[in-house]
Amino acid sequence: MDFTLTEEQEFFRQTIADTVDRMIMPKVEYIDEHPDEFPWDLWKEFTGLGYLGLRYPEEVGGMEADTTTCMLFYQELARASAGFSMAVTMNMLMGTYFLHRFGSEDIVQRLMIPAIRGEKIGVICFTEDQSGSDVGATRTSATKVDGGWVINGVKNWITDGPICDFCTVICQTDPSKGARGLDFFLIEKGMEGFSHGQILHKMGAQGPITGELIFDNVFVPEDHFLGDEVGRGVQHLTDILNEVRCMTAAQAVGIATTAMKDALEYARARKAFGHIIGDYQLIREKFARIAMNMEAAKLMVFRTAWMIDEEKAGRGPNPREEAFLTKMFATEMCMECVDEVMRIYGGNGFAREYGPQRYFRDARFLLYGGGTHEIIKDFIGGQMIKGRWQSRL
C-alpha cells in the first residue's frame, strides 16, 4: 500500500491551501458575522479561478481530477470556512450532477456550465418538514401532464435555495412505491409557481443562504426530467452519495485541522500557575486524543476516495458502507475536537473574538447531511447482522 500523495497531489494541496489562506481566510470572520449576506465578492473572485469544474470532464470545462484531489480541495476549503465550502461544493457537485448526467445539451450549456464557472447558483432539494433521512416519505409530487410534469410541494433546509438560479428537486412520481417512486426534476428561477419561502437562520456554517423553496403547480417540460427511466431516481442518487459522504468527512477534517492549530498556539502561549498550559498532562492528553482520531479520519477519507475511483474504473466494489463509516467517524471526530479545543481555551473559548466558538458552531452542521448517525448505525449494524457487509481490509 502506498499511503503517500503523489507529487502532483501534494503540489495541488499546497496551491489550494495557499489560495485559501490569501483569498478566503481574511474574510471568514466577516462571513460568520453577516449571516444574512451571501459573500458575492468572494464568490466571484474564487469561482473565477475555475475550481468548481474540478471533478467534471474537460468537455464541459472541467479538470477531471481524481477523487483524492477533490477531497484535498474540500478539506482545505473547510479549513478556512465551513459555510463557504458548503456553498462551493453545492455548485460543484450536488447542484450540478444531475444536469451533467441527464440534462439535454441546452440544459448543460445554459445552466450546468455557467454554474461550474460560478456564474449561476445550482442547488439540490431533498429535505421536507416530514422527510430528511427518510427520503421515501417525500411528499413533493411530480404529476405527468401533456408535454411535461407539474410539481407541487415545499422543500426545506435548502443550501443556497433562496438565491438559486435552478434546482434539482426530488419528487414522488408514484406515491404507491415509496422510495422506488422518486425522481429528479430541474426547476428554474422564473418558472411560474416557483418561489422561496422563509430563510432559516442557522447557528453556524454561515455563508450560504439556507431556506425553503415552494413549488405551486410548477410546469416543467419533458426535458427537465433528470433521469433515464421513471422510478430510478434513488438509484441514481446513490451513485453520488458515496462521494458526498466522503466530501463531508473531508470538510470535517478541515475544520478540525484549523481548530487544533489554533489550540496548539494557544496552549504554547497561555500561562497558568507559572507554566504554559501545554505543559499540563490533561491538556496534552486532549491533543494526543484529537491527533489520534484525526489521523484515523484522514486515512478513512483517503481510502474511501481511492475506493470510489477504483469502483468508477471497474476495479473495485461499491464502497457504500465505507463511505457511511467515514462520514460518521470524521464528523464525530470533528465534534469531539472542537469541544476539546473550546475547553483548552477555557473561558476565552466562549468569546466571539476567538475562533473556537465558530468551529464549534460550524462542526455541528456536518452531522446531518448524508444521513444522521442514528440512521447510519442502524443501517451498518443491520448489514453486518444480515451478513451483507464486513470489513474489506
Binding site: 507529487e7 502532483e8 503540489f11 495541488f12 499546497q14 496551491t15 489550494i16 495557499d18 489560495t19 490569501r22 483569498m23 473565477g48 479561478l49 475555475g50 475550481y51 469544474g53 474540478l54 479538470m63 481530477a65
Partner: protein, 254 residues
C-alpha cells in the same frame, strides 16, 4: 521581448526552524514555496507577457530543490520553466548559483531578467546583482514600478530620499520589491498544467560551470529570548513618570 525570471525555492515562512545539535546547521521543516519576492517577479513577467506579448520563462538553481518553486511559477501562467540541479549547489556560495544562472541565461537568451529583491531564507540579495555583473548588463535593485518597450525599461524605486526613476537600456536585470505588483492567485487550469509539466534539468557540467569555493558556515545561534514585557498602568502622566523612573533606575538607560 524575452523575459527570464529567477526563482528560488525557500522554506515556507511558517516552517519550523531550529538550530541542529552541534550548532553548525539548521533543521528546517520541509515546507517549500516560491520565494515571496520571486512571486512578484513572476507577476511582473506575466504582466509583460499580457501587455506586450513577451516570451517568458523561469529558472531555479539548487541541489534537489526548485521544482515546487517552478511549478508555482507555471501555475501562475509562466509558459516555460527550467531547473539547474546539482549537488554542488547545496549550501553553495551565492557566486556559484549566480554563475550557473548566468550560464543558463546566456544559453537560453533574454532581454530582461527579473529577480526578487532577496530570498526570505538568507535575505542576502546577492544573486541578482551577481548575475547582472557576470552577464555585464545594467542592474537596478528593489524596483517598485516597471514599464518596458522593446529596447528600454523604465523603473522606479522608493528610497528614504524619495522616488528614483531610471531608464535602462536592454538587456538588463531588475530585482522586484514588494509593491511592484500583487502576485496573482493561480487558476485551476494553471495548477493542473503545472502538476503535469515536464521540467528540463541541467547540471553545472551541462552548463560548463565550475563551483566557486564553498562558504563554510561556522555556526548558528537562535535569537536571544525577549525579556517579559512589563505593562505600566495608570493615567498617561503617572505612567510616563513611572517609565522614566524604570528607564533610569532599572534599565539604566537614562
Amino acid at each position: 521581448m524575452k523575459v527570464a525570471v529567477l526563482a528560488k525555492e525557500v522554506p515556507d515562512l511558517e516552517a519550523q526552524v531550529k538550530v541542529a545539535a552541534g550548532g553548525a546547521s539548521l533543521d528546517v521543516e520541509k515546507r517549500k514555496v516560491l520565494n515571496f519576492f520571486d512571486e512578484i517577479a513572476v507577476e511582473a513577467a506575466l504582466k509583460l507577457k499580457e501587455s506586450a506579448g513577451a516570451e517568458a520563462y523561469a529558472v531555479a538553481a539548487g541541489a534537489g530543490t526548485g521544482i515546487d518553486a517552478l511549478r508555482r511559477a507555471l501555475a501562475m501562467g509562466i509558459p516555460g520553466a527550467f531547473q539547474i540541479d546539482d549537488p554542488a549547489l547545496a549550501e553553495a556560495n551565492p557566486l556559484t548559483v549566480a554563475r550557473a544562472l548566468a550560464a543558463f541565461l546566456q544559453k537560453e537568451g533574454f532581454d530582461l531578467i527579473i529577480a526578487g529583491k532577496q530570498a526570505t531564507d538568507d535575505e542576502a540579495g546577492l544573486v541578482g546583482p551577481m548575475v547582472a555583473e557576470l552577464l555585464d548588463i545594467p542592474c537596478v535593485v528593489g524596483v517598485t514600478g516597471l514599464e518596458a518597450s522593446d529596447s528600454v525599461v523604465t523603473v522606479t524605486r522608493h528610497t528614504d530620499m524619495g522616488v528614483e526613476k531610471y531608464e535602462v537600456p536592454l538587456p538588463a536585470l531588475v530585482t522586484a520589491e514588494k509593491g511592484l505588483f500583487e502576485p496573482r492567485v493561480p487558476a485551476v487550469t494553471g495548477v493542473m498544467k503545472a502538476m503535469k509539466a515536464k521540467i528540463d534539468k541541467y547540471s553545472l557540467a551541462d552548463l560548463g560551470v565550475e563551483a566557486a569555493p564553498a562558504v563554510k558556515v561556522l555556526g548558528y545561534q537562535p535569537p536571544a529570548k525577549r525579556a517579559a514585557i512589563k505593562m505600566i498602568p495608570g493615567e498617561p502622566a503617572e505612567a510616563a513618570a513611572e517609565l522614566v523612573r524604570l528607564l533610569r533606575d532599572e534599565a539604566k538607560a537614562l
